[in-house]
Symmetry: C2
Subunit: 793 residues, 2 copies
């Protein structure tokens, strides 16, 4: 029944994106629309002593000026709607629309809406603010000290041991970690210093908000979670959710996690100004604002300790992570959880594990969600230890991994880590295929001496296919057959680039048994589709497929039930063929033959309905149902299962010993995708992830300059991988057909990024003998490392 | 349970409309949008011998030129999707996007899309067309002659007696008409010449169409039936319906029937041009185009013959109608059916009736739907006869009517006219109350002599509350509770002015038991709401309420079922109170007490859920369901019942005998509305209808000038009622609580207009003694009438 699943059909949004005709938030315009600019704090920690907006307000063309003094002071959390699981634990609500006590350089103090962008910019300069500068702390290792300046003194978790803990520490494990290490013959340890990475999505954050005095709020924005954004706005501004409409226009220039909840804070800021102006307000972040005032990947410090028996069996794994969440919580707590679960606990079957995760407030900009969401951090630490252990035990790193990887039959899988069965596990096949593709056997462990040295490395790991049941994760869907038998899927998922809505339609069409070409997937709009928690957590295609499966079952039951047993059809079943043929608009002569059949015996493929030898078409049935006053429609809400997408990524690198340059030559990325829905999109998703993984380990870093903020206020000062950095990437899709996923699928969204850093660090060690524990591997870090190892002077 | 039904709440769209911030189709703009102009035929009947568009195409700024030669030639009918009932009868598909054989002055020959409106206008002038002028026929009485020129020679119905019949004659009756007249002691007859009336809706027809090569078509337009418009466009251009999106922006500047199916042909024409240009194309009709190239009310000739016994019982009613449908069919056939059913057959219980209706093609612009849809025409003829009979029998016209009106217990009500039970009948109460309000007893029958003479008249009649089961009539709806317990209704109905979407939300909120203030009604968009046949046939509020009732029952079952028996709630029901109180975000302590209760015993009012002494709030339950990964949502498709809205309208007029001026002083409009949902809107709907009824009978007429077309190419040449013509209008709502309607409601949309002409003609006779059978009663018609009666020289 899978005609489209497995095919690389054309993207639904391809033409619009390729030609430039597609509308993005930057393109949105309304009559009477105002333009907004934001005044941001120049201090990492300060108190506004006085603020005078009179000159700004007096400037001709200025329509509204908002500050922390005249805007709601309600505290909110951009992740609250998504992370509040049914546990006695509330999300940390620590953020305001505007603040009088800025906590990072870039924090929002005031905003202006004016007739033109130029006037708004001018007005911002006219706002006079007197600050009292307060002590600040920037590094997570400084911030956790008990005498460090407090970032969120009222709201921080009361940790007995560490200061500035956002929410609470994450402390969990299985078995007995101490006994585990006692059982170990060998123990290895590492400490990794993790960089901050910026998403640098193509389109900067943008929102057009239009509040009307009838209580409705219309928002078009770059969000990757329209429904949660709606909930956040309703919460922050005390509006009924039913009166808040959030939509993508429909295109979004990339997401990568930075737009989960809010797009920076663009939606909130534009809304506040529109509520004051009662006109549409457009706020487009400059690239600088996007860099300095929206979430990044969490940097921080992670320590890992691994114990194994002599024959290579892992018996104890202890991880300690302090990640720098910056000034506000957002996903700080949950990300530490994923770091401990996906990053360290699932991949290997270690029966004594412990994890302590610390989300640490600092006076830096907020870190939040970014493709991988804690998994790259944890994976890098654990995989470093595994490599160290392999070296220590003299076992091939791949063999050591394959001995210890979790297996499909692993059970009971302790609830602490994974409250559902593991499902299919393609880890070892991924390891073998990545190794073969990279040429592991020939290349690994070749001692080299020249200036240019090559090495290969590998890593493996796991992630999730959605956030359930750790966080809130569900969706609803409406499916309907149009009156000509064509098929419409109404989903609340957005399309932020990966082609989810194309692949989702492939799945839905196969489930329904209708042609893809005449079907449509509506998305990215809280009015067009019912609740969907959004595009994040590698969940989009996986969870949309599941809710679609349930709704389509209902839809087909309605269709087959109507055809075989409706009053209308029964009436016609009694007519003779001659009479029926007068109804020229439909295939009634054949349709009536279905009357009285058991609906369960009907099937549909390609829009042809069959029962034994009988056949008719969906087109005719839908049109005739219309004529008889009936439409086939179904709505469903669903909690998804979860499947674990496993991976192994092998990298080959070239190190220029003299210049300290690391160039990634090739990455073989083998992924247990369960089942490939759209090979080209799946490969693209892997390639994109791998490339950003290359950036993560070899190029990109947000560099904080004390008192000045981040050095990288634009792409010219932030080294995202360019064409020159692009390695040969070989995506390998391993199909394990997980029984939990519709058509056996697992997620792929974030996974391509997760193992690259570990594989490259391993490959660089293979090339140079030096194990780096800090990255990106730019000359500033590589040369000192090579020097310390005595490899260069 | 009816907290909002019966209240005049503020309109949902009031603020936007009052301030001018609301968006209408005229306001819609897209990047890269082109502007269109149409080349229209200067001849009523011609053949294009040659057409040369090369100069137009060469004009800089012209992007696309469409003609009948390069555009689809597929024949369609703008009403096809709505009138095809499940009977062996196909709609007449007689219209093309562009034509090479124009059939009326204004018919579309070619179109241009250009960078600016000015360039498009210029280009239109550069198109060279050579016509062969052909013989034409304009009047329906000429057209039905067997030797008249043919309008649609291929497509016309093959009537043995009459020429130029569009579709087929409507010939139906009950009893035995001949025997009926034989039983009669008195027989009266009349022939009425009916004018064409134009809707003159505030916003001219407009559409912005955007076809993209990925096969999708986006249309924003002034349609009053978004879903049928979608179907028509899909049909005409061979597109899958699922790929066609039609929406109002969301406001529409009035409808009155002229936008059922297509807005003029604006959607089609803009689509054709966009398909050629591959860019968005905006077509806004000028007021002139709107006047000469969009549907009008049917004018024509109607004859009526009524027989009664001496004591006043009607025993035979025969009606013959030939209505001028113009060049194309649209709703020609169905309108003649309504004219015969609602206009002549339902109001009085006459057991021998016959009706012959002839939809007649002529070379005039097309007549189609207009508030009343055949009922004003039929009512005017029958009520004229009833007045004549009252005079002849010497019985008070009101008494005569009350003796003969249909009664609630009338049954069996013959299938030919009304295949459903009559339901409540407020006719006699309407007659009494309208008579009392107009001062019938004191004023009727007072002989007058001066120059200014006053008189009173009355009429009564009936219409329908939707088109079922005569035509296709059904709708679907999606209802959902948001995560904060606020309520959203997703409907495909548009809002064309009457406030349907406000009143519909009142009904839905009462059905759901939730506050109106925090609820939202989505409308006017084929993506935001599932199929709804649209705003016409007095159906909107009536049918939306019925489908909402069914869907909300499902929604509440989901809610109550989840609260009392879901797995999630059962899990919490086992916890002790102390533990439950930790879940600070919700009212769990009270919620768990519902677990195990029979869902059928739960109620909800004002968002408070109760069961005996227990209570909790919808807000808490929805949020907690969200946290437990569930949303309450339901979708439903429904075939409405039908209720008959009856009315009696009494008018007082003043006739200036010298100037031949008829001024309507007062109209008392008593309407059996079943149950009033929103008094202010209901009154407004009646007032608007009455005023256009005044225009119909006393002011408005499209005047055809042979060879030139209609004289009235704008408001300056077409006398719609102004403030000066506004009589005192007293709307009287008679509540009969029809068991078929949700909360007992009936429709009101069109009814205010239906009886005014008959009542005014009656009042003018009361004032002057002259019974006019042709209107509007402008001096040109009044003075000759008064002269013929010897009242003036």
């Amino acid at each position: 029944m899978a005609k489209y699943v497995g095919q690389s059909v054309n993207r639904n949004d391809g033409w619009e994106k390729a030609t430039g005709y597609g509308l993005f938030s930057h393109d949105v315009t309304y009559p009477n629309m105002l333009h907004a600019k934001i005044l941001r704090s120049p201090y990492a920690h300060a108190k506004v002593v006085s603020i005078d907006t009179s000159a700004a307000e007096a400037l001709p063309g200025v329509v509204a000026v908002c500050t922390f003094e005249n805007t709601t002071n309600k505290l909110f959390n951009t992740s609250a709607t998504m992370v509040t699981t049914n546990a006695p634990e509330e999300p940390v609500r620590d953020q305001k629309v505007f603040t009088g006590e800025p906590l990072y350089i870039g924090d929002e103090i005031a905003g202006v809406a004016a007739e033109t962008k130029k006037i708004a910019e001018e007005a911002i300069k006219l706002i006079k603010v007197e600050y009292e500068v307060l002590p600040a702390v920037y590094d997570e290792m400084d911030a956790i000290k008990m005498d460090a300046p407090k970032v969120q003194p009222v709201l921080e978790g009361k940790d007995p041991e560490y200061n500035n803990i956002c929410g609470h520490r994450l402390d969990f494990g299985i078995g007995d970690i101490q006994k585990g290490f006692e059982m170990a013959d060998e123990i290895v340890e590492c400490e990794i210093k993790l960089p901050r990475q910026k998403q640098v999505q193509m389109e900067t954050h943008a929102a057009v908000a239009w509040y009307k005095p009838n209580g409705t709020l219309e928002v078009q924005s770059t969000t990757q979670t329209p429904h949660p954004t709606k909930m956040i706005l309703a919460y922050a501004f005390d509006l009924p959710e039913s009166k808040v409409h959030v939509a993508n226009p429909p295109h979004v220039g990339g997401g990568f996690g930075v737009r989960i909840g809010l797009s920076g804070k663009a939606e909130c800021l534009a809304t506040a100004l529109s509520m004051k102006a009662l006109r549409p307000v457009k706020l487009v972040y400059t690239r600088e604002e996007d860099f300095i005032a929206s979430d990044t990947r969490h940097g921080g410090t992670i320590r890992c300790k691994l114990g194994a028996t002599k024959d290579g069996h892992f018996v104890a794994l202890d991880t300690w992570a302090a990640l720098n969440t910056g000034a506000y919580c957002t996903f700080g707590v949950e990300l530490l959880g994923v770091c401990g679960t996906c990053g360290t606990a699932i991949t290997y079957d270690v029966r004594n594990m412990h994890y302590l995760g610390l989300p640490v407030y600092t006076h830096q900009q907020t870190a939040g969600a970014f493709q991988g969401f804690g998994t790259p951090q944890g994976t890098t630490a654990v995989e470093t230890c595994v490599d160290m252990m392999a070296k220590k035990l003299g076992i091939d790193p791949i063999e050591l991994r394959k001995m210890n990887t979790s297996k499909e039959d692993r059970k009971p899988f302790e609830e602490m880590f994974l409250p559902f069965t593991l499902g299919s596990v393609g880890l070892n096949e991924c390891l073998d295929r990545a190794a073969a593709e990279i040429g592991w056997a020939e290349k690994r462990g070749k001692k080299q001496t020249g200036n240019i040295r090559r090495g290969v490395g590998i890593s493996c790991g796991s992630h999730v296919s959605n956030a359930a049941p750790f966080c809130v994760d569900y969706n609803s869907i409406v499916v309907r057959f149009e009156q000509d038998g064509t098929f419409t899927v109404q989903s609340g998922i957005p399309e932020i680039g990966p082609g989810t809505t194309t692949a989702g339609l492939q799945v839905a069409c196969d489930l329904a048994g209708v042609p893809f070409e005449t079907s449509t997937f509506l998305y990215g709009d809280t009015h067009k589709g019912p609740f969907d928690i959004g595009s994040h957590a590698t969940r989009s295609l996986y969870t949309v497929s599941q809710v679609a499966e349930k709704a389509i079952a209902d839809l087909k039951a309605d269709l087959f039930g109507w055809l075989t047993g409706s009053e209308a059809m029964q009436r016609f079943a009694g007519m003779d063929e001659h009479h029926l043929k007068e109804f020229t608009s439909s295939d009634l002569v054949n349709m009536v033959k279905f009357v009285g059949k058991d609906p369960a015996t009907l099937t549909m493929e390609d829009g042809i309905i069959r029962c034994g030898d009988l056949s008719t078409t969906l087109k005719e049935v839908c049109y005739f149902a219309h004529v008889c006053n009936h439409q086939f429609i179904a709505a469903k809400s669903n909690i998804p299962t979860n499947s674990i997408p496993f991976f192994a990524q092998a990298a080959e690198v070239e190190v220029d010993m003299e210049l300290g340059l690391v160039k990634v030559i090739k990455v073989a990325a083998a992924h247990d995708v369960g089942k490939t829905v759209h090979p080209r999109l799946c490969e693209g998703q892997i390639e994109g992830g791998v490339l950003r993984g290359v950036g993560y380990v070899a190029r990109e870093e947000m560099t904080y300059e004390e008192g000045k903020g981040f050095y990288n206020e634009g792409i010219h000062k932030y080294m995202i991988p360019t064409a020159d950095d692009y390695p040969e990437i070989v995506p390998i899709m391993v199909e394990t057909n997980d029984y939990k996923g519709t058509y056996g699928i697992k997620g792929i969204g974030e996974v391509g990024l997760c193992g690259v850093a570990a594989a490259v660090l391993s490959a660089v060690e293979d090339a140079t003998g030096v194990r780096f524990t800090e990255f990106p591997l730019v000359p500033d870090k590589v040369i000192p490392g090579l020097k310390a190892a005595g490899l260069i002077k």
